[in-house]
């Protein structure tokens, strides 16, 4: 490989433009648009896995852009009318094709790596949990970019028309959009709630984009990485073969790798969404301080949690006696979106992204939050948030344990008055009952809340028939 020629192509071909546009537009998008990648524990600067997944999800438009740029490069020989002169040269076509392909690969991979680096520097400052299992996610993403550009180059050379770059870019965009929205998802109706939820299917994994992930513990499984790598290598091989092909027969043969890659990849890729997005075992390992446990990913928050956790357990033991939970744990169960959450009677399960925990300021509010989670954990479907009976029940139950009604964290700004108005009469009525009745009602409410059958607030008000 002649490095002078590579240097020339790095400066004069579409490579620097591709890398520059990819990097600049990605950074502009992340920083100028105030999207959900800045919020909570799954922010792109909060954790390594979240960083990898968010930068990977940018590929929904970066990959089509790479394909379009590749097509622009592939048109170059035809537009410059260099074909005749190039045919008379001794250097074989594969050497000639390798140089711009290599230059573009270098710049695209570097741009993507720099993007990840920009986030990585902030992640280093924000978390103490470092691991390397996020690397395959970003590596496959970079491979997607490079293979897309090479495929675009091959297609541009095979179809040397001015229409090729925009239509190819648009086609790739339509591919990622459709895989994300309709063709790549299967809809299921949950018989319990009657809600229609969609889950990604096997075909959607052929697109570089990943689903929005709501938990720091979720990552892509190894079979996904392997399958996508096979697919990507197939597209890259086809692209390069198209770049080198001289006859029509060779061009038709060049389509074989991408088809073979698709078939092989679909065989390897998992079809069950639960095997696509799996729990990262190492990150989910519990780290405990007595009865209070968090995941290894959030180890740095254990110290703040230990005191309020123990206090909440003590209060619950005092209030509920034998039926009180005995430990506080971060919830590591990853359930499909839209399903009913599952709770435990003996453990207070919480998540750092729950509104009530995320908005808690100071030890006291954190204690109240854990109390609320132990009494009425909340039955909104996974991934959805709402405000209603569960929150009123929380206010009343926490007020019963503490002896007075407290404003709980996580209440939206305008709603605190409404909560008070609804909760106070029920709380007063509860306090007026004899202590055994109070305990019975609280236990019934807790049973309803933990099993998610029935409205806990109705039970507290005494409306629900036994």
């Amino acid at each position: 490989m002649n490095f002078r020629v590579l240097h020339i192509e790095l400066r004069r071909s579409v490579a620097p433009w591709a890398g520059g546009v990819v990097l600049a537009s990605a950074l502009a998008f992340l920083y100028l648009v105030n999207g959900s990648w800045w919020n909570g524990t799954t922010a792109w600067t909060a954790q390594w896995t979240s960083l990898a997944l968010w930068t990977r999800s940018l590929l929904f438009y970066l990959w089509p852009l790479a394909v379009g740029f590749g097509a622009l490069q592939g048109l170059r020989d035809h537009r410059s009318k260099m074909v005749e002169l190039l045919t008379s040269t001794p250097r074989p076509a594969r050497h000639r094709a390798a140089v711009p392909a290599g230059a573009t690969a270098i710049t695209l991979a570097s741009a993507y790596a720099f993007l990840v680096l920009v986030g990585g520097v902030q992640v280093l400052a924000n978390t103490r949990y470092t691991h390397l299992s996020w690397l395959p996610i970003s590596l496959v993403g970079a491979l997607f970019l490079v293979a897309g550009a090479v495929l675009g180059m091959g297609a541009g050379r095979a179809l040397p028309s001015v229409l090729t770059p925009p239509l190819l870019a648009m086609g790739a965009f339509a591919f990622t959009a459709l895989m994300h929205l309709s063709l790549g998802r299967t809809a299921t109706i949950d018989p319990a709630t009657g809600l229609t939820t969609t889950a990604p299917n096997r075909l959607s994994l052929l697109s570089p984009e990943v689903d929005e992930v709501h938990s720091t513990l979720v990552t892509l499984s190894a079979s996904v990485h392997i399958g996508q790598t096979i697919w990507v290598l197939g597209t890259a091989t086809t692209g390069f073969a198209l770049l080198v092909a001289a006859t029509r027969r060779a061009r038709l043969l060049a389509l074989a790798p991408v088809l073979a890659g698709a078939v092989l990849a679909l065989l390897v890729l998992p079809s069950d969404p639960r095997r696509m997005y799996v729990v990262d075992e190492a990150a989910a390992k519990p780290v405990c301080d007595g009865p209070v446990c968090v995941t290894t990913a959030h180890e740095d928050r254990l110290a703040d949690l230990a005191g309020p956790g123990r206090k909440a357990l003590r209060l619950l033991h005092g209030a509920l006696g034998d039926r009180a939970p005995v430990s506080v744990r971060e919830n590591t169960a990853v359930q499909p979106e839209g399903s009913t959450p599952r709770w435990s009677r003996t453990t207070v399960l919480f998540g750092f992204d729950d509104d009530i925990v995320a908005d808690a300021r100071g030890e006291e509010q954190l204690t109240w939050a854990l109390l609320a989670k132990g009494l009425v954990p909340g039955c909104a479907p996974v991934g959805w948030s709402g405000f209603g009976g569960d929150e009123y029940a929380q206010a009343v139950a926490v007020g019963w344990v503490l002896g007075e009604l407290k404003p709980l964290p996580g209440t939206p700004a305008g709603a605190s008055g409404e909560v008070d108005a609804k909760a106070r009469p029920v709380w007063k009525e509860l306090k007026a009952l004899p202590p055994a009745e109070q305990l019975a009602r609280i236990n019934a409410m807790r049973a309803a809340a933990l099993s998610c059958k029935g409205d806990p607030f109705d039970v507290l008000s005494g409306k629900a028939a036994r």
């Binding site: 020629v5 004069r12 009318k81 005749e84 190039l86 040269t89 001794p90 250097r91 000639r96």
Partner: protein, 269 residues
């Protein structure tokens, strides 16, 4: 029919003629035989290829550059057969070619373009910078070597084309309309360059400009309807014409004498 022999041949070459064609037929498109039964032997020196438009000159040059495959007959370049389906890598390293429609990468600078072409012609890596500098200087573009190709005028682009053709010190140099777009002073300089090159290279220049042939070529090949009509020195061509033939110079008169043959069936326009 004696080719111009140079006394500067150092080592005896294993072949008698650089270019040797016997009964060569080359097809263009689907049906038309643009080169129809050509017998030609060309050695060292500058050979001018003259002929009317559509005679097949460009097709012949393309076949000599191994861009087109001969349909029938034999073609030997530098002693090797150029008719097969192989890649002819070794052969192509010693050929320099400037097509009639010279395409180039507009964004490259002059030096970068010639360097890229040198790499494509498999010039040894260490020799590339020196060869590029020599080529660029020989065509007189040394002061504009860092400018982008799209900023150059038509004549300068043509000179870059000549530079890329000579960068690998070829044994066969094929130039199709090399003086298109050059001003008279540049054409004079170009003729000197041709004479330098003709000392040890087989140069084939296809041109319409008879003065270029007169001044620079040691040998003239007249081509019409895919066949050889005349091969000889410019003086011999001039001697073939008389005052009754159309032309402003002896060479033009000789040209019309040989081509405006009553047996011709096609027009000469």
């Amino acid at each position: 029919m004696m080719p111009a022999m140079s006394a500067a041949d150092i080592a005896p070459t294993p072949y008698a003629w650089e270019i040797r064609a016997t009964g060569l037929k080359v097809r263009v498109g689907r049906k038309r035989m643009a080169v129809d039964g050509l017998d030609l032997s060309l050695g060292t020196g500058v050979h001018g290829l003259l002929g009317p438009n559509g005679a097949g000159k460009t097709t012949l040059i393309r076949a000599l550059a191994t861009v087109l495959r001969p349909a029938e007959g034999t073609l030997e370049l530098l002693g090797e057969s150029a008719g097969g389906t192989g890649e002819h890598r070794a052969l192509r390293r010693r050929i320099g070619y400037l097509p009639q429609e010279f395409g180039y990468y507009k964004r490259f600078t002059v030096r970068e373009f010639v360097e890229y072409m040198a790499w494509l012609k498999e010039v040894p890596k260490a020799d590339i910078p020196g060869a590029v500098q020599r080529a660029v200087e020989r065509v007189g573009l040394a002061d504009r070597a860092e400018e982008r190709m799209k900023a150059l005028s038509g004549g300068m682009v043509r000179r870059v084309g000549i530079a890329q053709a000579i960068v690998n010190d070829p044994s066969i140099l094929l130039l199709d309309e090399p003086t298109a777009g050059l001003d008279p002073a540049q054409r004079l300089r170009f003729r000197e360059l041709l004479q330098e090159l003709g000392a040890d290279t087989c140069v084939v220049v296809s041109t319409h400009l008879v003065e270029d042939v007169a001044a620079a070529c040691s040998d003239v090949v007249l081509f019409a309807e895919g066949r050889l009509v005349f091969q000889g020195t410019p003086d011999e061509l001039a001697a073939a014409g008389g005052p009754e033939h159309v032309g402003d110079s002896p060479l033009e008169r000789g040209y019309s004498a040989l081509l405006l043959n009553p047996e011709q069936t096609r027009g000469t326009w």
